[in-house]
């Protein structure tokens, strides 16, 4: 598989000699859904900002789509990445949904005659077409985040970073964004990098990077990383619900596999129940 993001020996300090990111290395394969998991203050969002070149690294290498991030390549690297931030109110620029989606395009020398068509295409993709001439203040949090995603899609990025993009939304908004993002990951082969402290979301991703105090504690498939109970709990996180149930049942002498995915566990338990 092709590596789309490579981070090598990366360090960053906000204050001198206090390393927020301390010599971390990991890579992400194209088209995957990766979660960076860690508690508040673990350095998760700092990594996103470093990837976008919004912060300047202290040392190390960031390579996106084969291009090393430097001052010269900054705009080339940025053009590959779109980022959705936590607060839906802080990322609206335009006076209407249409203006907002147009903003990014206007900065990329798109032929003006083509612009309306592009805007409408992406508004449809995020189910916001009928709101194109609405004011942002009248939209729900989930709708605002969808507009932000449309604006990003219009720039055809190969990577979308979600920086706790659903943590301020209500359950309905969360579902809207999660299903949209999973669909984009599947249909358009966009690589997703989701920064979160939701272990149940991480359980459903392809790859997990576990972060604490600027260090990588573990990386790998969720079923490998998230079942290390001691390690997870030492980071003030909780192991997935399905894993707790699997372990508890095993302690009672029931032969059940270890799971992190609740659907799979339900399936096995129901088979055991029907066999009795």
């Amino acid at each position: 598989m092709e590596k789309i993001i490579e981070i090598k020996d990366l360090s960053f300090e906000y204050k001198e000699d206090v390393k927020t990111i301390d010599n971390i290395s990991f890579s992400i394969e194209k088209g995957t859904y990766t979660t960076i998991l860690g508690h508040n203050g673990s350095g998760k969002s700092t990594i996103a900002k470093l990837l976008m070149g919004l912060l300047e690294k202290k040392s190390g290498h960031i390579i996106v789509g084969g291009i090393e991030l430097t001052e010269e390549t900054l705009s080339e690297v940025r053009s590959q990445i779109g980022i959705v931030f936590q607060n839906p109110d802080n990322q609206f620029i335009g006076a209407t949904v249409r203006d907002d989606i147009a903003f990014g395009l206007e900065n990329t020398c798109v032929e003006p005659s083509l612009m309306d068509g592009i805007i409408e295409e992406y508004a449809k993709k995020v189910n916001m077409y009928e709101f194109l001439d609405h004011e942002p203040t009248k939209l729900s949090g989930g709708q605002k985040q969808r507009v932000a995603i449309a604006g990003i899609l219009a720039m055809s990025p190969s990577i979308i970073i979600l920086d706790e993009a659903t943590s301020m939304l209500d359950p309905k908004g969360k579902k809207e964004i999660n299903s949209l993002v999973h669909q984009l990951n599947k249909d358009k082969d966009i690589t997703i990098l989701s920064i979160t402290h939701d272990i149940e979301e991480a359980a459903l991703s392809d790859y997990v990077v576990l972060l604490s105090d600027g260090h990588i504690i573990d990386t790998g498939k969720p079923e490998d990383v998230l079942m290390k109970q001691k390690e997870i709990e030492s980071l003030a996180l909780d192991v997935p619900f399905a894993y707790k149930i699997s372990k508890g049942l095993q302690a009672q002498g029931i032969k059940v596999n270890n799971y992190i995915d609740r659907e799979k566990l339900v399936k096995e338990l129901c088979q055991l129940h029907s066999k009795k």
């Binding site: 209500d170 009672q252 338990l269 129940h273 009795k276």
Partner: protein, 283 residues
């Protein structure tokens, strides 16, 4: 401190084209010393309801009794200032409301406003800072240098400093990591156990199930249910009709029940659930 709503209506911008009927015939009796969850979709009237408890909003019809206070259409908010001390309201993302240059100044602002001397207010500030899990060294720091979770604690400390009898919290753990959320909820539970009435607006049903005694369900401006948490989570058909995110444990039980198990959906404790599943497989 009992809280009673009688036939309360609230219409925003009444008699204008923008008029919006946010509360419709609300009758509610919240028990003193209870920890009550207030749930419902965005736009169901939750925030409008809680703002009536400390008279930030006045009803457009009906009345509200908070102990000896009567809040009705004709009251002037100025006469209700003592009520604001009794009922402390923590808005969503309260950290956006911090404004002073030091944490000490931010916390003592409230008590001083209600007549405390500088020394009294400072003693209170030290006490509440400890309650929210921060030490005295924070007093001289700027609230703006803290992390999001710490700012939230400072904002909540500012409300606790008024020593309210009723604490109303609008989504107090949104955006906090699981550990931060747990600490915050344990703090509210502790305050509740000291005899204060706590009202928690939450979208997170895991929290409602684990921490609250009673639950009020709002839908389109009306109170649809006011029952104990156990009762609500036994009403599986109603819960599904609400299209809320069920607690993980409840939705897991419902999935098992669809496929042959017969488990009480109001079970809150994961160890109890493991015992029951084990029992039904072994039977």
């Amino acid at each position: 401190m009992s809280i009673t709503f009688k036939e309360v209506e609230h219409i925003y911008s009444e008699n204008t084209p923008f008029s919006y009927h946010a509360l419709k015939g609300v009758n509610l009796d919240i028990k003193q010393g209870s920890m009550t969850a207030l749930i419902g979709h965005t736009g169901s009237g939750k925030s409008t309801l809680i703002q009536h408890i400390n008279a930030l909003l006045l009803p457009t019809a009906g009345e509200i009794h908070i102990d000896d206070f009567l809040i009705s259409v004709t009251d002037k908010p100025e006469t209700l200032k003592p009520l604001r001390k009794k009922a402390g309201l923590v808005f969503q993302f309260p950290e956006y409301q911090l404004f002073e240059e030091t944490i000490q100044k931010d916390i003592i602002f409230g008590p001083k406003n209600f007549g405390a001397t500088e020394e009294e207010a400072l003693a209170v500030a030290k006490k509440v800072l400890k309650l929210v899990g921060l030490d005295e060294s924070y007093l001289e720091r700027s609230p703006f240098d803290l992390s999001g979770g710490q700012k939230r604690r400072i904002a909540i400390a500012g409300i606790l400093a008024m020593d309210p009898d009723i604490l109303i919290l609008d989504e107090p753990t949104a955006g906090l990591d699981p550990q931060g959320a747990k600490e915050m909820l344990n703090l509210f539970k502790k305050i509740n156990e000291q005899g204060k009435t706590v009202i928690l607006v939450s979208h997170d049903m895991n929290q409602v199930l684990e921490y609250c005694d009673d639950v009020v369900v709002m839908n389109k401006g009306r109170v649809e249910r006011h029952v104990s948490v156990d009762e609500l989570f036994r009403e599986t058909e109603y819960l599904t009709s609400l299209s809320i995110d069920l607690p993980i444990i409840t939705s897991f039980i419902l999935e098992l029940n669809k496929n042959g198990f017969d488990i009480d959906p109001s079970i809150k404790d994961i160890n109890e659930l493991i015992q029951v599943i084990g029992g039904q497989i072994h039977e």
